[in-house]
């Protein structure tokens, strides 16, 4: 790590990276790229945390994610809870890096954060998932909520 600056960088730079990629590649290609990057990160994280194959009902999953991604971790976001609704897995997050610094009403959606959570869940469940953001703190929600459904 950097001797003087340590391991953290400002959200301002992260957002500039996102908007710069969107400008160069288009929103959709940038979104695909950021989600893919997030998935890789999430999969690696699940391996590091030793939660591969544990299933989302394991009571340790949320505390482990909070520790790894929250205030004492990399500060990507705070994962408050994971719920099951039929075959859907719903993840409630707040203070996500993707929504940070955006004005209320902004149409911005989770990309890297969604991918990271998806990567973790795919490793935890052993399933192939597709995620969709259904609520946003930028559009009146108390959380950024992502719903995952199984593909196939």
């Amino acid at each position: 790590m950097r001797p003087e600056l340590g391991e953290f960088s400002s959200i301002v730079c992260f957002k500039a990276l996102v908007t710069g990629a969107e400008e160069a590649l288009g929103e959709k290609a940038a979104m695909i790229t950021l989600i893919a990057a997030g998935r890789s990160r999430g999969k690696q994280l699940a391996e590091d945390l030793g939660i591969k194959g544990k299933g989302t009902s394991d009571e340790n999953i949320v505390p482990l994610l909070q520790k790894a991604l929250g205030k004492d971790g990399t500060r990507l976001c705070i994962v408050d809870k994971i719920e099951h609704e039929g075959a859907l897995i719903k993840v409630y997050c707040r203070e996500t890096i993707c929504s940070a610094g955006e004005p209320q009403g902004s149409p911005r959606k989770l990309t890297f954060t969604l991918g990271a959570i998806q990567g973790v869940l795919e490793q935890v469940t052993g399933l192939r998932l597709r995620g969709k953001q259904t609520e946003s703190v930028l559009r009146g929600g108390s959380h950024d909520v992502v719903e995952f459904e199984t593909i196939g």
Binding site: L25, G26, K28, A29, I32, I35, A36, R39, R130, G152
Partner: protein, 123 residues
């Protein structure tokens, strides 16, 4: 969602084994997730999927920004062969890998046929 993955895999496998000079194929979601594939050994399905969807999307942007109209297909021609990306309805993108020896007309006909078959299987 109840996509019949086995059916999709079978269509792709038939394309690869039944068409000379086709070396691999993959069907991916528009957001870059793998749906089914019959890729050469050593190719990472997830990386190929994200790359394919991003490329087609970038192609659409190029078509738009450079006033080329709607994009149906993207070709990558290398000295060892072709990579052809074809939009497969709203739900998927088809990638076909073919060797340099492939007859392009035949390849396009096969892609057209398989695309139609895949669209039916995706419904």
């Amino acid at each position: 969602m109840s996509i019949n993955i086995a059916k999709l895999e079978s269509i792709l496998q038939n394309l690869v084994t039944g068409t000379s000079d086709v070396e691999g194929a993959a069907l991916v979601s528009p957001d870059g997730l793998p749906l089914a594939s019959a890729l050469p050994r050593g190719m990472d399905e997830e990386r190929v999927s994200a790359m394919s969807a991003a490329m087609l999307s970038l192609g659409e942007r190029i078509g738009n920004e450079l006033a080329r109209g709607g994009i149906d297909r993207l070709y990558v021609e290398g000295d060892k062969g072709y990579g052809i990306l074809t939009s497969c309805g709203e739900e998927a993108v088809l990638l076909v890998l073919a060797s340099k020896a492939a007859k392009q007309g035949l390849l396009m006909l096969e892609i057209k046929r398989v695309t139609s078959e895949l669209k039916t299987a995706l419904q």
